[in-house]
């Protein structure tokens, strides 16, 4: 905790100054174009990963990057999605799973429900993933099994996402696109789902890297 307090101080005294303009502008209002849904896992930093600045990503995080189907829980996920689309007009939603995900490990090898009652309940929203693993990939084991589960779970959550009325309506109007990603912590790679091939593949190299120069990530500019 002491380290975090120091971090606040360091941010205030050393970092904030160079970003003052951005933050003062943001205080007037946010206009993110993307809703980024990912796991609560400490190893994921969505801004670092996508080299985004404050104001770029509206971020929903929970254990396992799950999106309960609409109506399944009257919880934070539905409200956050609704706010992002109907309130802020985001144009893209990314569901980003990741390697070594503890929640997915828990799905494949459930912890005792007496010790983790809330987690057990929560993983019922990944029951489609569990069933697909059990019925389609019964022969997979170990790391391969976990990796398949992580990918299938991203797809299952995208299906869940489609039942949210704001998502369904924006899709029907061609105002929104959904994306499935898997982030590999140990290599920094991101695999993107391609509906055409029904496969995850390495994120494509962008054609014009130079364009990137014009807009650096805030924390890099520090």
């Amino acid at each position: 905790m002491q380290r975090l307090i120091e971090g606040l101080h360091h941010f205030q005294s050393q970092v904030f100054g160079s970003q003052r303009e951005l933050f003062e502008r943001l205080a007037q209002g946010q206009a993110p174009e993307t809703l980024f849904i990912t796991c609560a896992d400490s190893r994921i930093d969505p801004c670092l990963l996508t080299q985004s600045a404050p104001g770029d990503l509206f971020i929903l995080r929970n254990a396992g990057n799950l999106v309960p189907p609409y109506g399944a829980v009257r919880g934070g996920e539905a409200a956050t999605i609704e706010f992002a689309i109907a309130g802020l007009g985001v144009k893209d939603i990314i569901v980003c799973g990741h390697s070594h995900c503890g929640a997915m490990k828990g799905l494949l090898d459930p912890p005792p429900a007496t010790a983790f009652p809330a987690l057990s309940d929560w993983l019922s929203h990944a029951e489609a993933t569990r069933r697909i693993m059990h019925e389609k990939y019964a022969d997979r084991t170990g790391a391969e099994q976990l990796n398949v589960a992580i990918q299938e779970n991203v797809l299952a959550q995208l299906e869940n996402l489609r039942t949210h009325p704001v998502v369904a309506s924006a899709l029907a109007q061609d105002k929104l696109r959904l994306h499935g990603w898997v982030y590999k912590i140990e290599t920094g790679e991101v695999f993107v789902y391609d509906p055409a091939t029904r496969q995850f593949a390495l994120a494509p190299t962008p054609p014009e890297a130079p364009a990137r120069e014009e807009r650096e990530r805030v924390s890099v500019e520090v």
Copy 2:
């Protein structure tokens, strides 16, 4: 979206290399000491704000940084909290509200329930905040009203947090501390709740700033 793909590429080609060792170590497992609960608002970057590195903060984010009381929703919040404490053994939980919070604006001035049904439901978990504003601070208006609501809401969510069995038990064993923060976007300041004075006050300046040097934030090292 194009910008994010470029960001991934930039991260991979320019940033990851210098952090490879950290990420390879993290791939073996995470051991965060803090659960950081904050709003989905795009203007908040918990890692930037606390100058934390990947692996430091287990992060739960939703619209309004709400924590429904235990049992109120079988949702992501309870599971994420349970995983953080019973699974990872975090020692501190920070509930961090922020200035200009759209969810708190929605609490004080509810959007039409037909347009935002999920958000309306969700804000019922901040009903204590709403009631306190209505009954105790009926005379406040405008920015002052919003700021009080943001602070009271952090306190209300801390009460909700105490009903979670993993929290209650860790507190009973003196293994966990709860913290209430409010982040002011336009100044980069963080106000911390002090139970003794029952007031929020600027985060204290840490005594030994030099210690900070030893452990830089990843993104700064880039």
Copy 3:
């Protein structure tokens, strides 16, 4: 009621005899290949419409032919779907809406919630339909508006259906197909959704009508 008792008697004394063999065989067990989901509307007779015999169709009916997303209600829809797929191994699911649907009228022009509290709640599972009508088809009125709503609702319920784990897993294994139908009461026509054109079109004329002769509908044989 008197008429129904008479009907039972007539069935027993005049109809059952010629079907005895079928019913005795069915008493050993059912093996339907199709789950037919339609409205409770009295004007729909799925067996008549599809010229099916007892044993052919596993039938789920409720007001509005809704399928709440998985987890949204711990109700009859999820259990019936699960039983149909995991218990009976059905290969096709048809969601069949219909013209002049009272539930869809109620969705477009909600009845007072005090008089219809349960129906109001229930229609929340067609909230995606309502939102699409409101945002995409705001210019439609009258009969045209109702017809579009009936079609969009079939599609919305198909999305909801995909979140059910048994459905998701059977689809992932290519063991199940989903179909969207709209039955027009006044003409006896059925319109089938074509994912390729993203349109509903009249059910295609089957190539070999003669094949039909081999297997008559039970009630026709009477």
Copy 4:
């Protein structure tokens, strides 16, 4: 599926013509006098069994012909019942169980909850039946046990039905009657519950069978 498409075609080209008048009239509106609640089982055709025509029966079907008590699920059963009584003014409600019911077998001999989680949840609304079987009929086994369970379950669901406000109010005003039936697939017989004797007995032979002649079942007329 091919067979069903052929059936649609056959219905359209061969059957609909002779019923055109009925269907065109029904397109103006329905006025069923009975709500028929039965199992999704493919072997039950309520219209065939009662020799009813389109327009006669408002039909609710799910696995096990269960009616959760009011408020127990915000699902299709409550809405369909409410619509039938408050919207259509039906005068009779029949809860019709049947021999060889798979749901009742599942109640007596629960399938694994991991394979049938939704069904397990759903059967909680037949918990009264299960408890009665366990406590009052512990000595019954096999087919006899199943038959008693099927009968007791119809009675339990009638009790559940009474908690629905529209039912309670219509009963208090003597505008509605409730009926418990069990349909025996292999013989085509229907057993009706008699509150006076507290027994199920074969449906009584109607006094004037000739009256039946005046109104044939649609599918018979084909």
Copy 5:
């Protein structure tokens, strides 16, 4: 509060002594024969009213003496009823309404849902009462309307009670009887529902008053 502390002291020093034997025996275990369900209203003292001693009545109290149907809330009512019957084997359940009931006033004339959100929700379990008042007794007003509502509500809650599996099973085994009472505060009278006449009538005078002498109420003996 000071008065209550004084009351505790008075009880301890002046009252407990003469009842020591009873309380020491009760510490070994309770064996109440009756579950008494009544309103939280401060004017009702079930023990005083029935001249019962500690150990006689298992008592469930909430605003409006409501009993949600089984499964409608996973709350205290179902658990208390289950414990009373399956755990303690009570033989009678009394649902006791009362004159001037604030909850019933709230049902007939709903308080603002923003000020009383939980009460508004809770009264949905008396929706059958409300609907009966609205549809059957629309001509009643004032005190008469309230009194009818209080009586009808007792009957509605008895119906709800019958859906609880432990109740249904005990009734099926003739091990339990249900009773509907209304207590009139200003006269001390109790009106008992008579299923034969379908009326509430003054509790009958017991034949042998002398028998009463043998077993005095504890507080009277003080």
Copy 6:
């Protein structure tokens, strides 16, 4: 039951007369200053214990004196608390556990969920208590374990109580005080929680016992 009918008669003919004035006044309205929450256990008589008269205590009773956190069940507890504070303006809330509590025994040694499904669900609101017992007091057994659980449960329920908006708001305005009690049946003693020492201790002897004389308990006056 015969005894209770006799009790009613005895109350009416022998007791009510001397209290007529009080009851007639109470019929005009109640104004209790305290909400007393305790177990349904037959051995507890809150009025006897605190020597209170009708009109003094608003009383909520259920198995285990549990108070689910706000939103956890849409049940009687939340509504009763809301009515007590927002409707009646009570100034004190007492949560009173007791020795030999069957619900707490069930928490420590769960009964079979098939026999007690509702109780098992209900005890999830004492999950914090269970977890504290398991993690902090794993070394306690027998009567000592039960006594600690009873005390810890009172504290856990006080935390749950704080999440109710009416409670949170009244506390924020210093209009309400919360109290934790444990009643020892065999000695008639009450132990009161002292937040300063974080211990339960015998209720303090009130300074001026004479004051008590002015206001006798109704049942004593009989």
